[in-house]
């Protein structure tokens, strides 16, 4: 590794203080690098942030549950010591218009009996399904921790990686192969149809196949996203979701803490005007205030469109690469509605305060409901009957709201970034919020009486405030043609860029979005491997 150049103040500048940027910085600092993180906003965390939007109410404004955070990162950065505490989120409750409900919990026996209430066959299939999905997860997990190979080279090392995947595939039972292939290519519903007959069960399960994508539950490719979310793991248990005590911002803060301890310097309210490029190599950044900061390496955790079209002077990048960047699809499709409540929602189909309020509550009554929600979005309208995923974190973590008060966090799909001609999000924003409240009220009528404050986050807000282009929560769609060695740009999936010493480390790189941290970690390993800093 070359001696650290003395001309530069830093070894590495990390653009963006989201969970991936911070993870990237922490790993680099732990390897002895002098690292500076520059965050545009006044707080860290990017989309994994906790903000006191209304006095006494601390919202996980964007991302609101954790599941995918890589165990090796929790270990390597010793996050629990830095204050990370994951509280369990047990179960998914789906109210139905006919007064019935579907309530799945981690307790196997309970869930089995509950599903059997709808269909005995499905209750049996549900166990089989779980087993099959775990086998799939075991196949995909190592790929998540892997630098994507480049299938277009003849470099033996790259081909070995492909061979490794091929071998793992061959190693699977023919049953698992069959499932794996289907999972990678089918629609969530086509896939689930093969296992289950209960409509509401399929609808609720398929929901995780569409989160953050501009696809419907019947769109091919959504079965994979289903797996992507199934992969969630806490303490080694598949499919376990949880809250971070103090909101998702606490995750970012724990990582930031670990980074600082390792010597990382972090500056907030330091927006970047430009990434400096000299003879095809970067040597630092220029802040909006004009300050120039020099470094051997710049590692950008913001998405490729911001990095390569907004922060780099035209002409520094090859056309073919820029075409790829231009083509990379964002298409935000979801919004958030966060509410401060004076009490708890009272569901018609299950009145009173119960454990069902402590888990996720899903408005996904039927497959047709889900698909129709998508149809509206295709033509540029937010869904009049949206899919809503709700949680009440205050039932698990009382520190988030004043005594007796609660927070209802609603993830809403579809909210297309690009609205039909004549519509714009600034005028639609509150109508969109009202519609969410009305939709919930169909199942829990008292909701309207207990709302103290409401915060609506549209895809446009996600772009303006959090720098998520077109409001895509994953920094780009998780669609097959944008995964693995195609993410974000074919031929540039290994965290490097055509500009020497400029790297990508955000969710727009393999393995993609969710509070996972994998891109930040993998990018750090590549930077160190190159000895670039």
């Amino acid at each position: 590794m070359p001696a650290i150049s003395s001309s530069s103040k830093y070894d590495v500048i990390v653009i963006g203080g989201g969970h991936n940027g911070l993870t990237n910085a922490a790993y680099l600092a732990k390897a002895g690098k002098k690292v500076l993180v520059l965050e545009r906003r006044h707080i860290l965390g990017g989309a994994a942030c906790t903000e006191e939007v209304f006095p006494g109410f601390k919202f996980s404004v964007c991302s609101y549950v954790v599941s995918l955070l890589r165990p090796e990162i929790i270990r390597d950065l010793d996050l629990p010591r830095h204050g990370l505490e994951i509280l369990p989120l047990d179960g998914t409750f789906t109210p139905m218009p006919n007064g019935d409900h579907l309530w799945r919990v981690n307790d196997h026996g309970k869930t089995h009996r509950e599903i059997a209430r709808h269909s005995r066959v499905d209750a049996e299939a549900y166990d089989e399904f779980g087993k099959a999905m775990q086998a799939m997860c075991r196949f995909v997990k190592p790929i998540l921790g892997m630098i994507p190979p480049d299938p277009a080279t003849l470099n033996p090392k790259e081909l070995m990686k492909l061979l490794f995947i091929g071998r793992r595939f061959q190693g699977m039972s023919s049953e698992d192969k069959y499932n794996q292939v289907q999972l990678m290519t089918m629609s969530a519903i086509d896939f689930l149809d093969q296992w289950f007959e209960t409509d509401v069960l399929k609808a609720t399960m398929s929901a995780s196949g569409i989160i953050g994508t501009f696809l419907g539950v019947r769109s091919p490719g959504t079965a994979y996203v289903l797996l992507h979310h199934y992969m969630g793991e806490i303490d080694g248990a598949f499919r376990a979701w949880g809250f971070a005590r103090g909101g998702t911002g606490a995750i970012s803060n724990a990582i930031a803490d670990a980074a600082r301890e390792a010597g990382v310097e972090i500056r907030t309210e330091a927006p970047i005007a430009q990434i400096m490029v000299k003879n095809g190599r970067t040597n630092g950044v220029v802040l909006a205030n004009g300050d120039e900061i020099y470094a051997d390496v710049v590692s950008s955790s913001v998405d490729p469109r911001l990095t390569f079209t907004k922060m780099i002077e035209p002409g520094n990048l090859p056309d073919e690469f820029m075409e790829g960047v231009k083509r990379y699809k964002f298409r935000g499709s979801s919004g958030k509605v966060n509410m401060a409540l004076d009490g708890l929602p009272n569901f018609k189909c299950m009145p009173g305060v119960g454990a069902h309020l402590r888990g996720a509550m899903s408005i996904s009554p039927s497959v047709e409901y889900m698909e129709k929600a998508y149809d509206e979005a295709k033509y540029g309208h937010w869904s009049s009957h949206p899919y809503i995923d709700m949680v009440i974190p205050t039932l698990t973590d009382t520190s988030l709201a004043p005594p007796g008060k609660h927070i209802l966090s609603c993830f809403v799909q579809y909210a297309p970034y690009k609205l039909a001609p004549g519509l714009d999000w600034d005028t639609e924003k509150e109508k969109f919020g009202d519609n969410v409240v009305n939709t919930i009220a169909e199942y829990a009528p008292n909701i309207k009486d207990i709302i103290l404050h409401r915060q609506v986050v549209t895809p446009l807000d996600l772009e303006r405030t959090w720098g998520l282009t077109e409001g895509n929560i994953f920094q780009g769609e998780l669609s097959l043609e944008q995964l693995f060695f195609l993410r974000p740009v074919a031929g540039w999936a290994q965290f490097r860029s055509p500009i020497k010493n400029l790297y990508m480390c955000g969710s727009a790189t393999h393995p993609g979005g969710g509070i996972m941290g994998a891109p930040g970690r993998l990018a750090a390993l590549e930077i160190l491997k190159d000895g670039a800093a």
Partner: protein
């Protein structure tokens, strides 16, 4: 000896169904020294590639109205020209009609097409050439893969490896740019693919339509780009070339039958098969509906996988797991057909005063991507499209013999017509379907209703019952990423064999299985000959 009467003799190879793939397989097996017997349920061979008189004096390609195009080596080997097959390629490839009275004309000649497109967008005119070139390059490589028997994933044979190596090499020769294109395009939506090349909406929609033809996909469905590429492999012209056989598509299968007979194939029509006989896991022959039994060394089915393995074979001979997978093989048709006998040519508003040459190609109603997607939306919920996607041809312009002097036949593909209707059935909806199609066409050709002498309306149910296409699927099963190449029809069973020894598949439900190309039949014959000679 079973009680039922038996023709006694032991046949060599029986081929169930005389569709184009069955005839191609029979021909190549005969060439390989076998004595195939083709048994066809209907009065004439041809399957979905047939010409029938549907109104006195009016003949029409009942179903498929455009040749595949057939794989060149098959045309050559079978000497189809010598057996009377004659193609005409119209100057105009496609006329795409717009509601505002305009029309986008795509000429078969690429230069001329570009010239026409330039009137809409200079940039698109240039992209049109690029797109065609890219399809040509990539199509060539995919074409090689299509001619390949899908490898055995568990233990690839040396032959498999060699074939894959060859394809692998030509894939590398594509160069990085086009290789990445293949990888990216496959899983994409056709709408996204065309948007990467073109700005002109009608051009986008007209080309994207190729990715949804015959499938349960909309232009925004991921994977519809794959369908487009599969078809481009046989035919790189962006909108898809169009070729009319003199005498309709039935002439293709008639020529094939003649070639097969000459090669020593015996063909029996009106010979419906009731059951494929299986003994101790080995296919031993067939039982006809008449009760006649014919035993054979091997049975090859041109019927689709579901019909073959769930209806013709007693499920008792198959493992529950395999049956489950065949059940899950997606085979829900979305296309319907309306054939019209016309007293005169329809007058399309958009083409007023222009030569009837413009009507000699494909006439499409696919004005914009969202129009196609909306048509698809209805089918998802079990309704047929009120504003359908239509592909029309007037073959009698190129071949006057199809209709009385001065009169015409019009062949219309309609999408979407889902096989399963929500709280209704096709018998009660048949008339409504015909009216919907005519109404949609009348928006573009107001005089049409007055010149119609007769409709022939073919619903997905008819496709199943009359023509034996399970689920009414014109491709014997959805063309999708999970039912393609090594997964067509099922992973581990993509090599034309089945779990039943000496029972083989050769229809469109096997790789490559796209339209009227003969690819599946030729590939199957190669594998079957190899297996039977062991």
């Amino acid at each position: 000896m079973p009680a039922r009467k038996s023709s006694g003799e032991m046949r060599d190879v029986i081929i169930v169904g005389g569709g184009h793939n069955g005839l191609v397989t029979a021909f190549y097996l005969a060439k390989a020294g076998f004595k195939p017997l083709v048994l066809e349920r209907r009065a004439q061979v041809g399957g979905a590639a047939i010409t029938e008189e549907f109104h006195s004096g009016f003949r029409c390609s009942t179903l498929a109205h455009n040749a595949g195009p057939l794989r060149a080596d098959i045309v050559r080997d079978m000497q189809l020209e010598k057996h009377g097959l004659k193609f005409t390629t119209p100057e105009v490839n496609t006329v795409s009609l717009l509601p505002d009275g305009r029309a986008l004309v795509l000429y078969s000649d690429a230069k001329r097409a570009a010239g026409e497109i330039a009137q809409w967008s200079q940039k698109d005119a240039a992209s049109y050439a690029d797109f065609g070139a890219a399809l040509g390059k990539i199509g060539k490589v995919i074409g090689e893969a299509l001619a390949l028997t899908p490898p055995n994933i568990d233990s690839p044979s040396s032959g498999d490896l060699w074939g894959m190596l060859k394809t692998g090499r030509s894939i590398r020769n594509l160069g990085k740019k086009d290789l990445y294109r293949v990888l990216r395009w496959g899983p994409m939506a056709a709408a996204d693919l065309v948007a990467e090349f073109f700005d002109t909406e009608p051009l986008r929609a007209t080309i994207a339509a190729r990715g949804i033809f015959g499938t349960f996909l909309g232009p925004w469905s991921a994977g519809s780009a794959l369908v487009l590429l599969l078809r481009a492999a046989a035919d790189p012209s962006p909108a898809g070339s169009i070729q009319f056989p003199a005498g309709g598509t039935g002439a293709i299968t008639q020529a094939m039958a003649a070639a097969a007979r000459q090669a020593g194939v015996e063909i029996r029509t009106d010979a419906e098969i009731a059951e494929i006989r299986v003994k101790d896991g080995v296919a031993t022959g067939v039982v006809l509906a008449s009760g006649e039994e014919i035993s054979a060394r091997a049975v090859v089915s041109n019927a689709d996988p579901k019909r073959t393995l769930m209806r013709l074979v007693d499920p008792a001979h198959l493992s529950p797991d395999f049956i489950q997978k065949i059940k899950n093989y997606r085979c829900m048709g979305t296309a319907a057909k309306v054939n019209l006998a016309l007293s005169a040519l329809p007058e399309f508003t958009a083409l007023k005063g222009k030569s009837d040459g413009l009507l000699r190609g494909r006439i499409q109603i696919s004005p914009e991507i969202d129009y196609l997607e909306r048509a698809f939306d209805e089918s998802k919920y079990g309704n047929f499209s009120r504003q359908p996607y239509l592909e029309m041809t007037i073959p009698s312009l190129a071949d006057p013999s199809l209709a009385p002097a001065g009169q015409h036949v019009m062949s219309v593909y309609m999408q979407y017509a889902p096989y399963t209707l929500k709280n209704s059935d096709w018998e009660s909806q048949r008339k409504a379907l015909g009216e919907t199609v005519v109404k949609a066409m009348a928006q573009y050709a107001p005089n049409l209703p007055q010149v119609i002498l007769r409709h022939q309306i073919i619903t997905p149910k008819d496709l199943e019952e009359t023509y034996g296409l399970t689920g009414g699927h014109i491709f014997h099963g959805e063309l999708a990423l999970d039912q393609f190449f090594t997964m067509r029809p099922l992973l581990d069973w993509a090599r034309y064999g089945t779990p039943i020894e000496r029972l083989y598949l050769c229809g469109s439900g096997t790789h490559p299985g796209t339209g009227l190309t003969g690819g599946s039949g030729a590939n199957a014959a190669r594998e079957i000959a190899k297996a039977l000679k062991k």
